[in-house]
Every structure is written in structure tokens, then in C-alpha cells.
Amino acid sequence: MEHRRIETPKIGVFICHCGINIGGVIKVPEVVQYAKKLPNVVYAEENLYTCSSEGLSKIKEGIQEHHLDRVIVASCTPRTHESLFRATCTEVGLNKYLFEMANIRDQCSWVHMKDPEAATEKAKDLVRMAVAKASLLHPQEETEIDVIPSALVVGGGIAGITTALCLANQGFSVYIVEKEAKMGGMLRYLHKLYPTMRNASEVLNQLVNEAKASKNIEILTSSVVKEVKGFIGNFEVAIQKGDEKTVNFEVGTIIVATGATDFEPVGMYGYKKFDNVITQLQLEQLLKKGRLQNLKRVVMIQCVGSRQEGRSYCSRICCMTALKNSKLIRESYPDANIHIFYRDLQTYGQEYEKYYREVQEKGVKFIKYLPEKPPEVSLGENGKLNVNVYHSLINKQIEISADLVVLSTPLIQHEDAKELSQKLKVPLGPSGFFLEAHVKLRPVDFATDGVFVCGSAHWPADVGESISQAYGAASRASIPMSLKRLHTEALNALVDEEICSGCGLCELTCPFAAIRIEETKKGRKAKVIAASCKGCGACGAGCPQMAISMQHFTDEQLLAQIAALAEVKS
């Protein structure tokens, strides 16, 4: 155990407004003034965005001008931003283990928005606790590990296949695990793709064939992820292939490309009650098989089951899908009368906006309905469907008869996604989709190192977007695999041989066989195997002699944080 005496630390505290995310709730200037008075703090300032290039320069200047030897940023969460700030410290020669964060956004301003006073007090406490820990931080040296140059791609749809091909073409070996018997995911059910109007099967078959032909790709269909152990660079994966026995292999990175499924609008707008009420996905099938005949009047209803309580998000792809399918119907049946009932049309981007104009010019009619006065579908006397709707632009209730009512339903997360999220230890967001590490800065990364996401698993995405994300995820995953070696965090257990009695309980406790008793000149002593130690700390917490300390999370540091909390007057 290291008991290096530190000279009086010089701590700098940088407190972030995060625009209004923190500054709109917490009184940042007050926290800055407070921080300045804390022991060992020699410098404190506020930044509009500490993570911006300007903010990072401020940290570097602070270190150089005020000779800071400890840096604290009070902002968001270390899970997304610690690596960035640590890298900034390293740039100007400060060991990255001398950096500490106080989470005053995700765990403070965002969750106490209605109580600025309490949030400000809490922010002060969190800063004080961070200062207490920072004073006791030690510089650490990291060890290197090898990265296995292969990847696991979960999901064999357009995103999964694309990302797998990207990696395989760079020379990495890739396993694609697809739970269905066939590759292709959602694209297998689609007809033509907007805006190019190419056949989905054409696009898909080409990619599937490429993947099958690639010597670097191994495809496992009817397979699911059973278990994942390990860390970036060295994941141990167990795959359950049907009823056969499990397949085990090791990979360096994992990409989640499990896609999404469509929402079935049971009980809405006469779905499953009237034969002629179908979903857009069912319409795709009918169009693909050419089963639609004699279409005269079609009504499409948008936002069915989305943008409402319980499923508040916009599924993004449904507006363009409705436009595309109307266009296809008009091309086959130029006389067909098509109405699209919408709430807001999302046809973002140059191509899609142009597409929308074209469909308008083809004579498709658009009626804006209000969520509080949704359309009603009933069966008329002639066997036709009647759709009643309040036309919000002409302020009038109207009735339109229809041969076919098509419901645009959102993409939703698969039921088994939760299980996968737990196995991979990555989160799902409030809408059930996989949640990236940071919406802007790390859009295809998870906070867990070495695990990435692309396609509709992350959020409803169309084919173009899924492919872009798949490229992104492949590119991100290729970084550690190209580097071949990675630094592991210096979070190992350290044994104080003077105190160790060689009882061996640590050996018993360690789940990684990373500590064992060896004969030394001083007798039986515990030895840590640095490469195997993951730094969980279970050995230390269980050591009868309290002879084991954890790097960067020492008892001293944790006790200082606890003691700092006690100083609060309330």
C-alpha cells in the first residue's frame, strides 16, 4: 500500500453551466465562490460548457498558470465525460488519475429542477466531497492488455450486416448472431425503399450474399446471446444456437444491431375488427405480392400508437413510408383517391422534402387531424369503411369512405431487448430503445467500453440512416481492434505485505482468480495478478486484516468523502 506523503495539493475546480442544463437550476456563481473557500482549492471558475474546446483550454491554462496538481470538473457524469477531461489533463502533463468529477447535472440539476435552492446546496456538497477525495488522489500507471481482433454483431438486419461487412473488409473476424432462421431483419418484409424506390430484397440480398461470401464473417442464425463476460478487448461470449449446445468464443468488441419491431394497433381504428384496416407493414406485403386490386379510395392514418401517453416518441420513418406507399398505389391505380390523415408531417432533409412535394403533385390529399379529436373508423352499409374526422384546417367534421384504411404504427423495441441490455450491461432509454453514451458526442457508443449500437435498436431509423450508423459503429469498434493493445484502468487491488497474514480469504473471494497466496521471504502473502485484476474491490472489503487497498478508490479517499458530507449543516 502506498502511503506517499503529498505536499499540500493545489486543486482547481471548474464548474460547468452546461448552457442552461445546470446553470438554469443551480446557482453556479455561488458554487464557484463556495468552492474557492474549500481546503486545498487554489482556483475555481465557471464555464458555459467545460467540455467545449474553450472550456478544455481553460482547464489547461488553469493547470499551467496556477500549477494545479488536482483538477475537478463539476458538470455531467464521469460515465460520459471523464475520459475527455482526463485526456485534457494528460495533454498538459497531469496524470489522469489526479482528475475527479462531481456529477451536478445528471444527478442534480436535471432531477431537482423545481428546487433550485436544494439543488444548489446539493451541488456544493458534491463539490466538497469531490475536493475531499481529490486531495488524497495519487497518480497511477496503467498496464496494457491485448485486444482480440474480432467483433460480435448482435442482429443480422441491414445495420448488422453493414457493420459486419465494414469490419470484415478491414480484416477483423466477425460473428453475426441472428435470432431468426433467416438473415435480413425488417427488410425482409419491406417492398420498395424510399427515396430511391429500389426493391428492398435487391438491396438486402446483395448484402447478405456478400456477408455469406466473406471469409471473415461467421453467421449464426436461430441464435441468441446467452452470456457475456469480460471487458473491452476480451469479451467471452456464449451463444445459444437453437436447441443445440452453446457456442463459445472471444471477441474484442460488440455491436448491438438488433433493430426493432412494429407496433400492432389492436383495438385501434377498427384494426382486427374490419378486414380492410391494416398496418403499413401489412400494406408493404400486399404491394410486394401484387395482391391489391381495384383500389379506389384509401385512407392512411399517421401516428397510430405513437406520440401519445405511454409511447410519446415520434417513430420518424412512418411519414415517409406513408408517402412512399401512396406514391406506389397512385402509380398502379392512377384513379385511386388517397387521403393521409396526419398530425405533423416529418419529411426532413432535402431529398425527403422533394419527395413530399412530388407526392402532393400526384394528387394525394393531406388532412391534419388533432390528437384530441382523432379519426373514427366505422363500417358503412355498403360494406365500405367510413372514416370520420375533424378537419382542423377548415374547422369542420368530414366523412370519407374507404376501401382500405392503413394505419401508420411506430417501430417499438423487441421484448427481449431488456434481457440483452442486462447481459451487456448497457442501458435502455425511457422509450425502450438502447441508449447511447452521449447523444451528440458519442452517438454510437455505449458508456460501457467496447460496446456499440446502430440502426433501429437505438431509435427508429430508415435504411439510409441505419447504414450510416452501421458505418459509424464499425469505425468506432475498429479503433481498439486496430490499436491491438489498450491501457487498462489502474484500479487494481494492492496488498500491504506488512499487514497481510496470508489467510487466503481474498483468494476465496476473488471471482477472477486474480489474487493468490504465495510463499515469500516474509511468509505466506497475497499477490495480485495485475492483468487479471478487474478492480472490483471485493477482496479488500473482505480482508480480515484490512491489508488490501483499492487503487483510486482507497478507504482513505472514501472515508474523506463520507467525512466531507458530515460537514453539512442542515
Binding site: 444527478q107 432531477v111 466531497m129 460501457t448 472490483c536 471485493a538 479488500g540 463520507i562 458530507l565 458530515a566
Partner: protein, 255 residues
Amino acid sequence: MKFNPKILGFLCNWCSYAGADLAGISRIQYPPNLRIIRVMCTGRIDPVLPLEALANGADGVIIMGCHPGDCHYMTGNYEAERKIKMLKKLIAPLGLAERLHVEWVSASEGARFAEVVENFTNQIKVLGPSPLRQEKLDLSKWEGIQAAKEAVEDFRLRALVARERKIIEEGNVYGEEISQEEFDRKMDDALTAEYIRNRIYLILEKEPTSIKQLSKRLNLSSKHVLDHVVLLRRRGLVTVDKIEDMTPIYSVLKR
């Protein structure tokens, strides 16, 4: 004055700390009383740490980690669970057991995280301020928590709790299988004994005292206290300071 509880949380980096972040990303509002200390794994939580937090006047201490089976380090949360179970028993006589709580919250359970914090905060509000708060310190409870801390720093309890899984799954060194119930009974006895011995030691450390006085202060029979003092003497921790009126007065030898 309105009671504003001071609650300390030890959260594991992989599940619960991420769940807490997710509550933020989802803008789920919850009471502002919790202060979080991030650890890599709940398995790292030395039993001394929650006690130290209580001794420092925290009104509540909550430990949150991955759900059983989900631990990033495989078994850390089981280690934590056993230690917290032991701690709750240890501090139950001080009326502090309800101030210590353990919950499993995953990285995807932002809403549940907020709910857990809200429920625990409400529970603490009902319990009222901790008797260990500096401004209204209950001295006997303070002595009690010090004794509890000493007990969990001592190798006897630490070794017992560290061996629990092994003993139950594989039997003791003599190959005898021991059931969970039997182990719990032994653990309870050990906890009570170590706690009392440490209280005796701490009292004697302050001033040399007789068995009779000790038994009065600890509200235990003289026979009971004597047994413990004899054992402490055998461990070389306590000695006879002097004899007054035929009564031995005991004092401590430094540990």
C-alpha cells in the same frame, strides 16, 4: 424546523450509478437529499464504510448495485448483500437498522432509481433525525456505533462473513456441512459477542471500571460481562488495573 434528511448512497459504477444518470436524462424528479459516492462495485463496500457514514451523522445510508446475477464482476453484489445483512443485525440494538438499506437498480431503471430514492427518503423522514447527528448526539448510541465499527474492523467478524458462502456451500474445515440457518445463528452469536466486547473495551479505554459498573452500563448480567472480560484478558486487551474494596477494576492494554 423542517427535517431535511442527509442521505448517503454508495452506488456501483455499472448499474445503479448509470441508473441514476438515466433518471437525470429522463428528467425524473426525486427528493434532493441523496449524496452519491461512486464505487466500481458494491462488493468493494467495506462494512466499516456504511457505519462510518452513520457515525458521521448521516440520517440514512443506501447501497445500490446490480441485480443478482447481473454484477459486472460476477459476485460483488452477493458479497455486498451478506455484509449489509450482517451490518443491519449489528446495528439493530442501536435502533439504526432501518437507516441502512440495500437495493438493486439496473442501468436501465431510471424510473425505479427515482422511486427507490423517494421511498427511502420518506422512510428516513418518518424515522426522524439520526441520534448520531452532531447537534443532538445520543452518547450511548455514539459509543454503540464506535463499538460496532471496532467489531467489523476486527478480523473475527470479517473472516466469518468472508467465509460464509464457502462454509455453506462446501462445509467447514472439518468437512461438516452447515445450513444457512445454523450459520446465521453462529453469526448472530458472534456479532453480539464482538459488539459487547468492543463496547466493554471502549468503556474501559475511557476509564478503569469494575464488572458491576460495566454490567449496569451495558444492562447485562455480571456473569455475562465477566465472561467477556475474561476473554478480553486472554486476548491480551484488558488487564486488572487495581483492586478496590476486594473488587477488581479493569483497564485496557493498547491493541
